[in-house]
């Protein structure tokens, strides 16, 4: 049977009324999970596994597995759609993969363009979802072979490229962006080191063994920092309430977003395929690239629709990409796919090299249902935009306590420790002072994500090469990444030396 026949079989299974219902429930819960900070896709899926087990109890094992995985996968990509909502409206990222969306999304909301920002992220997510599914259907096998070729050296060079590109997140001063990046890298070293198993900077506090939680820091810096700023600057007394303009994006918005959505989808999918890289990196990288190739990079961070369209497409595409190593190799690329894998195992379906041969109805049913689920999400999300956008019209004296409450509940729901609440408040205060003095926050957050990946992969690669650094140049893909990273840093310098005006090195 050809791929198309399998896919047709998959659709006939996914279009059964109960599976349609499961997909709908999944994406509905996923949207809610995405909107609520704290309950991320990972805990959302984990919490629903026992529920789905009960719901599918009456079916035979194979179709029960199909129905369950359809629902759970719906939660996963539904959360990617919903994740942008609080980022845009409240500057409170619900998921780590929508941290970067706050940069321009929140600015758009303040300018009364919340509707456009929300709907473009839904449209971008839809386009990216469909793209990544087509890629999954057509390229799963060759891509999974490529993904495992991606060794420590390649990961290291890719992450280094990401770090070199941090200039894309700089505000007025490159120096301050670099300071913040190093801060992020330093904070990332706290905790138990995975390569040697040694505890670093933990001072024997067991609470620090697991390192600092990424989401706590991001929510503190962005959401609480903004709240403190509003309170201290008495912005709430100005009585200026942002009005929600039109809900749908203008023709010009759509035109401006088409390129970022397309690029974000492709980039997000490929990063998603790599185990361990994931949706957060995909969103950061796509944002940076859009800013880099933009004719007018100065508008980023001030409400550019491209800055919402690209990362939101990328994180959704990445969730599709993460299905490739999961379904073809049984290697989960992210925490959420690891839990999906666990759910499959519960139904005696072992994801791995034999999945497509042993359980084609499960694999193809899932893929087909993801096409349907993405369509449902688009239809579900467009009317919701109008409802959600109203939130921004709430007067600040009500809105601010709500943001604080959501942040506190969200962080506690993930970590269950009071330490993280203290960390949250500390980061909020730090966020206020840092923003006040023009230190950009995004590079710190990126450093925190990239730090452990850079370090661990570098040490793995060097162990493999007996300490020989040329391994990073000997592997063609790795060398290519390094070359791009060098060009990224050197080209603007050269241009500047030749008297051209370049934004990157502008000093405050």
């Amino acid at each position: 049977m050809s791929v198309l026949n399998f896919l047709a079989d998959g659709f006939s299974s996914a279009l059964q009324w109960h599976n349609l219902l499961f997909a709908f429930i999944g994406v509905l819960i996923g949207t809610a999970v995405g909107v609520l900070p704290g309950i991320g896709p990972m805990s959302g899926v984990a919490l629903l596994i026992p529920v789905t087990a009960t719901m599918t109890g009456g079916q035979d094992p194979a179709s029960a597995a199909t129905s369950a995985i359809i629902l759970l996968a719906g939660v996963y990509y539904g959360a990617m759609y919903g994740g942008s909502t609080t980022s845009i409206l409240l500057n409170t990222p619900g998921e780590s993969s929508s941290v970067v969306t706050t940069l321009d999304g929140y600015q758009m909301a303040r300018q009364g363009r919340a509707g456009a920002a929300l709907s473009i992220s839904a449209i971008g997510s839809f386009a990216a979802g469909i793209f990544s599914l087509l890629a999954l259907v057509l390229l799963a096998e060759p891509l999974s072979n490529l993904a495992i070729k991606f060794g420590p050296a390649e990961y290291f060079s890719l992450m280094l490229l990401g770090l070199a590109a941090v200039s894309g997140l700089a505000g007025k001063s490159m120096t301050k962006a670099l300071i913040m990046t190093v801060m992020g890298l330093l904070l990332a070293t706290i905790g138990m080191d995975n390569v040697s198993g040694v505890a670093r900077f933990t001072y024997d506090f067991p609470i620090l063994y697991g390192g600092l939680e990424f989401l706590t820091i991001a929510v503190g810096l962005f959401a609480l920092g903004e709240v403190f700023k509003t309170i201290i600057n008495r912005e709430y007394q100005a009585g200026e309430i942002a009005k929600v303009g039109r809900v749908l994006p203008t023709r010009q918005d759509l035109k401006a977003s088409a390129g970022p959505i397309a690029r974000g989808s492709v980039l997000g999918f490929f990063i998603g395929v790599l185990p361990g890289a994931g949706a957060t990196l995909a969103s950061f990288f796509s944002y940076i690239i859009e800013k880099k190739i933009s004719k007018n990079p100065a508008k980023f961070g001030k409400g550019a629709i491209e800055g919402v369209a690209a990362p939101e497409s990328a994180n959704n595409a990445a969730s599709g990409g993460a299905m490739v190593p999961l379904l073809t190799l049984g290697i989960p690329g992210s925490g959420t796919t690891a839990i999906l894998m666990g759910a499959l195992i519960m139904y005696n379906v072992q994801p791995g090299p034999l999945l497509f041969a042993d359980h084609p109805e499960v694999a193809w049913g899932l893929i087909a249902s993801m096409f349907i689920g993405n369509l449902m999400l688009l239809i579900l999300n467009m009317p919701l935009v109008k409802v959600f956008a109203k939130i921004i019209e709430t007067p600040p004296r009500y809105l601010l306590p709500i943001i604080i409450a959501i942040s506190v509940f969200g962080v506690y729901a993930v970590q269950y420790t009071t330490f993280d609440l203290l960390l949250l408040i500390g980061c909020g205060i730090a966020g206020y002072f840092l923003t006040k003095n023009d230190y950009p926050l995004a590079p710190l957050v990126l450093g925190l994500v990239l730090g452990p990946m850079i370090e661990n992969n570098m040490r793995r690669a060097l162990t493999g090469s007996n300490g020989d650094f040329s391994v990073f140049l000997a592997k063609p893909l790795s060398a290519a990444f390094l070359l791009v990273a060098v060009l990224w840093l050197v080209v603007p310098l050269l241009l500047k030396m030749r008297g051209k005006k370049v934004l990157v090195n502008e000093e405050a």
Binding site: A46, L47, I49, P50, A53, A147, I148, K149, F150, G151, P152, G191, M192, D193, N194, V195, S196, G197, V198, A199, P206, I207, Y209, G210, P275, G276, P325, L329, G330, I331, P332, G335, A338, I339, M341, G342, I345, M346, N348, Q350, G352, P353, L354, T417, N456, R460, T463, G464, N466
Partner: protein
Amino acid sequence: MAFKNWKLKMGLLTIAASVTLTACGDAGGKSGDYPSKAIVVVAPSGAGGGWDKTARSLTKVLSEAKLVDQTMTVENKPGGGGAVFLAEYVAQDKKNPYKLFVSSPPILINNLKKEGNSPYGYKDTTPLAQLTKDYGAIVVKADSKYADINAVMNDLKADPTKVTVAGGSSPGSMDHLISVLPAYKFGVDPKSVKYVSYDGGGEAIAALLGNNADVIGTDISSAAEYLKAGKVRVLAVTSAERLSGDFKDVPTLKESGIDAEFTIWRGVFGPKEISDDEKAYWEKTLKSLNDSEEWKKELQANAWEPEFRASADFTKFLEDQEVLIKDMLTALGMAK
């Protein structure tokens, strides 16, 4: 404060409930109303490895066979070969009977080794029962030039820098011990073996399949699916006798002339300050699990061998293995 109140209320409810039960002369033989809420079983590793699979099979069968009525979920807590989780567990959950975890020899190894030492060991928990035994496996890619374990050993002996060995946990941990054990017994300096650690067995297999490692040390249950799919070749297993099923053609280390064996037990642990009633509940429940048909099927599906030891026996067994591992680490120069 709200949380403390809530805990207090739960405590009062528990007392009230047990008083009621006692007053009614409950003859069901149930120890209080434990468990009265959802139970978390932690796999102190990433998904896809041995602990993870054990935790998932355990919760699945306990629920399916209706041995535990409460919802059971699995949580993954990777890092430091389990030490990250154990430190958190001892610090935060020593009185929480609703959080159990699955462990294996690393709980002993981490407590004994010098680098990356875990200040906590099995003595800071309550061993509830041993459930399975598993064995280590030395695995290469299906198209590898190595056809048998002795070929790898000869290459390692000739030039250890030429062979990259990988595993799913940090140096000095179990995957590392399994990887270097044959080399050590073969007369290669175990410190010279190049060992690259990944986050969990899944990533280590990915590294093997992607030619980023020549050999990996793992356990047979993690390797089974890839062996069936023809993606890898298993050169040797660390059991004393040949295994059945998918591994029937794989020689033991002893058959290959290397005098070494290593048994990987897996067991369930609870918090240090678990009450006697709660401990008895798990001993009884896990014994029923071990005797159930569902569990036998699950064992078969995963190529695991059952080996049941109840709490007291299990603790004695751990004391013995602790001595053994300490000797081994001392020989490797890695003991604390």
